[in-house]
């Protein structure tokens, strides 16, 4: 009844006009008149990886303080103006390891007001504020950390994996670091850290929606053009630091079931191997016939959940296989099966059909996820900021469409090496549940530095 699809749907990149202002600000314009709304995104190239020892959590503190007022906008007025005007945002601001992104979707009649408010807080950032608001920001961040990390079973697993794979000097830390540095930073410490990054030459402004290019461009030039260029900004480059296998136990009193994660260093946003690593993940767990799902869920019934995925940051990444045992299956039995499937994946090319399915899904996702204008400004600004090309995403899909099975096998051989982290996550005190207890293990509690621990 249903023939297999042979051809990947083509991805037509978003139409973008790029304007570079004399102060270095890059502005991106994606016109779309299908609805009378426009998304505004302002991307600052600063995140947790720019924090040195003693500065952990400050990039995220900058984000909170950006809502505490600017020369002509009172604390809280940014959001209330937009909300009362019929605008909306899923998060308003987000801080990751590599970037801080502010965004909102507003009626197109509010575009000028929104650009004016965004430019007001870029003009002289972190100056026109009541210093007592720092305490309020600390309080909000502490509650955010409690909610997202400390009160969540194994909430620190990601930061810990980054710490082991990328080393202690500049680990890809969690943007929601423990509160130590955020609590001790004074207002001027915060400003000293944040201000050098909040300059037009370290920012991208992206618009998507209902505007006329000429008039939107004039608004951006009018409101952002007079902002002074700052000193050039540099960022640390991350290099994987793991050599050989590290076996670590992460205990958590909130954990109810053991979990196993095997994590290898991956690659960053613009790396040509990224698409292939994602294809490799799909070959392992893309559907019920994929190697790991078939072996662990269907044939052996050892796990209730298994997922392989590649996560990319700006210049580093993680290839992770996560598994949750079914019933009382020992983690060691799961690790054995994972190892044998990985070995088989290295030994033989995947089928053309498996690869074709990944390519179809990759192209489909690129189209469906960019329905929302807020998602478009995020994607365009990311490409511009990290690869100098707003439509890098579409070029990555095109490159993926050309992958061969031999290339996937080559990448499996190159990346799924013995230099990896095997992380046994167990409820506190249940050390008998770890995978292969006979082998030497470190306990995360003893090797994690305070800035990763909770």
């Amino acid at each position: 009844m249903i023939a297999g699809a042979q051809k990947a749907p083509s991805v037509k990149p978003l139409q973008v006009t790029r304007v570079v202002l004399p102060n270095g600000l890059v502005a991106l314009f994606n016109e779309d008149h299908s609805s009378p709304i426009v998304a505004v995104g302002v991307w600052y190239h600063v995140g947790a990886k720019d924090e040195r020892s003693g500065e952990t959590g400050l990039a995220h503190l900058c984000e909170h303080m950006m809502f505490e007022g600017s020369p002509n906008v009172a604390p809280g007025e940014f959001q209330s103006t937009i909300k009362v005007g019929g605008g909306n945002s899923a998060a308003w601001g987000e801080t990751s390891e590599d970037r801080t992104f502010y965004y909102e979707t507003v009626p197109s009649t509010m575009l000028e007001t929104t650009l004016w408010m965004e430019s007001d807080r870029m003009m002289t950032p972190f100056t026109s504020m009541d210093t007592s608001r720092l305490a309020a920001a600390r309080g909000a961040i502490r509650n955010e950390r409690l909610q997202r990390i400390e009160n969540r079973p194994f909430g620190s697993a990601e930061s810990f994996a980054a710490y082991v794979l990328y080393g202690p000097d500049h680990p890809y830390r969690s943007p929601l670091a423990p509160m130590t540095d955020v609590n001790t930073a004074s207002f001027s410490d915060m400003r000293r850290f944040c201000a050098p990054y909040y300059v037009p030459n370290n920012a991208v402004v992206a618009l998507s929606g209902d505007f006329e290019l000429k008039s939107a461009q004039a608004m951006v030039e009018k409101y952002f053009g007079s902002i002074k260029r700052g000193a050039a900004v540099t960022h640390p480059v991350m290099r994987p630091a793991v050599t050989g296998e590290r076996r670590v136990v992460l205990e958590d009193p909130r954990g109810r079931n053991p979990e196993l994660r095997i994590v290898w260093p991956g690659v960053g946003f613009g790396d040509p191997d990224k698409g292939t690593l994602r294809a490799l993940a799909s070959v392992l767990t893309g559907n019920r016939r994929s190697g790991l799902v078939k072996a662990l869920v269907y044939d052996r019934k050892l796990v209730s959940y298994v997922l392989a995925a590649h996560f990319d940051n700006e210049n580093g990444g993680f290839f992770q296989i996560a598994a949750i045992p079914q019933g009382t299956t020992p983690l060691g039995a799961i690790e054995d099966v994972i190892d044998s499937v990985v070995k088989a994946t290295i030994a033989a090319e995947p089928s053309e059909a498996q690869l074709r399915r990944f390519k179809n899904a990759d192209a489909d996702t690129a189209i469906t996820t960019l329905q929302a204008r807020a998602a478009r400004v995020d994607t365009l600004a990311q490409g511009q900021s990290w690869a100098g090309d707003p439509i890098a995403y579409a070029k990555q899909v095109d490159a993926t469409a050309k992958l061969t099975p031999a290339e996937v096998q080559r990448i499996a051989t190159k990346y799924l090496t013995s230099s990896r982290l095997v992380l046994s996550m167990v409820p506190a005190g249940k050390l008998d549940l770890i995978s292969k207890p006979e082998r030497p293990h470190d306990n995360a509690a003893t090797i994690m530095p305070a800035e990763v621990k909770r």
Binding site: A74, P107, E150, R256, N287, Y305, T368, Q371
Partner: protein, 471 residues
């Protein structure tokens, strides 16, 4: 204090010179009001077998979002077999009479989009093949017995994982307390109910209930309505109807109990999770729009009263929501607030929260300005919220399952803007009842029980994970 002196004040306080002395920049002209929102035109047709098709045509993107709504959903689960509808929809993915489970999985993967029995979103040129697969799953399930064990195990594991999030027991206990064991909204799937479900239960349930006259198909995007109807006809016309379309409503909620704190002990939690509120009216209530506005004035995140009190002025939480969660036109809604608060400050957070609730009900009616805010964040931002084909298709599906009709949103916009501050105040006072509020707290009893009792907000009872009172 005007803005200029405020700037000078800030600069003087911080002692920064140089660039900190900001230019007073003229504000841009006040924005013109946004155009009034109108929900896109819906074309409807009923196939001869009773299956209803709603289509919205929009060619802005080469995509189509499709949803299938099965009347009643989990509300139809018989008492004691909660989880039946969920298992049914999961097993539809495990093979049809034409395609084995493996072949079905590959056929879906070939498309690139993830086609589920409940819907999919696809590039236009894969629409027909995707719809054919979705139809095959709905009409010709194989229900292989081996799949039941696997699905049940998977569902149990995910229930168990979700149990680690304190919101899961809090929500379950709140529903059990407010709706009680005799109400379908008070019951949820559990290991016991899942264990009682057999493959025969599933296949009988599907054959009886999942019939074309109980199914509504929603298609939004790059398709001409006539082609959409023809396509639906091609895929679904062979499906035999059996009887009349059913309409499944939830019964009224039982009478509310006096305000009580239900504490479920989970040792070691650094935050307490609070679920707080009571049952409310259905969407068809005369004052439903006024209640909608009142809800957002009270607990609609940033800009609301609770946000100001528990996040802005005091750092008690990262976020708080307390609004009306509507179901069907005639089903009870849930007027429900939830937040994770610092465990050490559980009592003070609850005191502030309950004081605000009393103020809303008795002391401080919503002002003109608050009502304007409430309108903006409900009916005023629909263009920004219903932006994608996915969100519009989900909205159509929601209007279908809630029995409110396809012109609901236009009436909603009119009703929200017509609600006067006096009406909003009356609805707030009527429904947000501080004397009949179920307060569920999941937290570390050792740390929080004594201060909660001392605070004397309401009687404290200790409950188990299902809301049964222990002491």
């Amino acid at each position: 204090m005007n803005r200029l002196t405020q700037v000078a004040f800030a600069v003087a306080t911080l002692g920064f010179g140089g660039p900190a002395v900001a230019q007073a920049r003229p504000k841009p002209p006040s924005p013109k009001p946004a155009p009034a929102y109108a929900f896109p035109k819906v074309q409807t047709q009923t196939l001869p077998n009773g299956l209803v098709v709603h289509v919205i045509e929009d060619h802005a993107l080469p995509l189509v979002a499709v949803r299938a709504v099965i009347e009643g959903g989990s509300l139809v689960d018989p008492a004691g077999k909660e989880g039946l509808f969920t298992l049914d929809t999961l097993l539809l993915r495990d093979g049809t009479t034409r395609l084995s489970g493996d072949a079905l999985a590959d056929a879906i993967s070939d498309l690139g989009a993830s086609v589920a029995p409940s819907g999919f979103t696809t590039v236009t040129d894969q629409l027909e093949r995707s719809l054919a697969i979705m139809g095959d799953m709905l009409m010709h399930p194989a229900f292989p017995a081996e799949a039941l064990d696997r699905r049940r195990t998977g569902l149990l594991a995910s229930l168990q994982r979700s149990e680690g999030q304190p919101g899961t027991p809090a929500n379950r206990i709140w529903s059990a307390v407010v709706f009680g064991p005799d109400h379908p909204l008070g019951r949820v799937a559990s290991p016991t109910t899942l264990a009682s479900i057999t493959i025969d239960d599933i296949s009988r349930f599907h054959a009886e209930h999942v019939r074309p006259q109980n199914v509504t198909l929603v298609m939004v995007g790059d398709i001409v309505p006539a082609s959409a109807m023809a396509l639906a006809m091609k895929v679904f016309s062979g499906w035999q109807r059996s009887g009349e379309r059913v309409v499944v409503n939830a019964p009224p909620a039982p009478a509310p109990k006096p305000t009580t704190i239900y504490l479920f002990d989970r040792p070691g939690l650094s935050q307490s999770t609070i679920y707080l509120g009571q049952a409310g009216p259905g969407r068809s209530a005369a004052d439903a729009y006024a209640l909608e506005v009142a809800s957002f004035v009270f607990g609609g995140q940033s800009g609301s009263r609770l946000w100001a009190q528990l996040r802005d002025r005091r750092p008690l939480t990262y976020g708080i929501t307390h609004v009306t969660f509507w179901r069907g036109a005639n089903d009870p809604s849930r007027i429900l607030g939830f937040s994770n608060v610092d465990a050490a400050k559980t009592d003070s957070a609850l005191i502030v929260w309950m004081n605000e609730l009393k103020e809303l009900a008795t002391g401080r009616a919503p002002t003109e300005q608050e009502v304007a805010f409430g309108r903006s964040v409900t009916a005023g931002n629909l263009a920004a919220r219903l932006e994608t084909f996915d969100s519009i298709a989900n909205q159509l599906a929601r209007m279908t399952s809630d029995h409110v009709g396809m012109s609901y949103l236009d009436g909603y916009v009119r009703g929200v803007y017509a609600a006067t501050p006096a009406e909003v105040g009356r609805a707030a006072a009527h429904y947000f009842d501080p004397a009949h509020t179920a307060i569920v707290i999941v937290g570390d009893r050792k740390r929080i029980e004594a201060p909660l009792r001392e605070a004397n907000i309401a009687p404290v009872v200790i409950v188990d994970a299902n809301g049964k009172v222990l002491q």
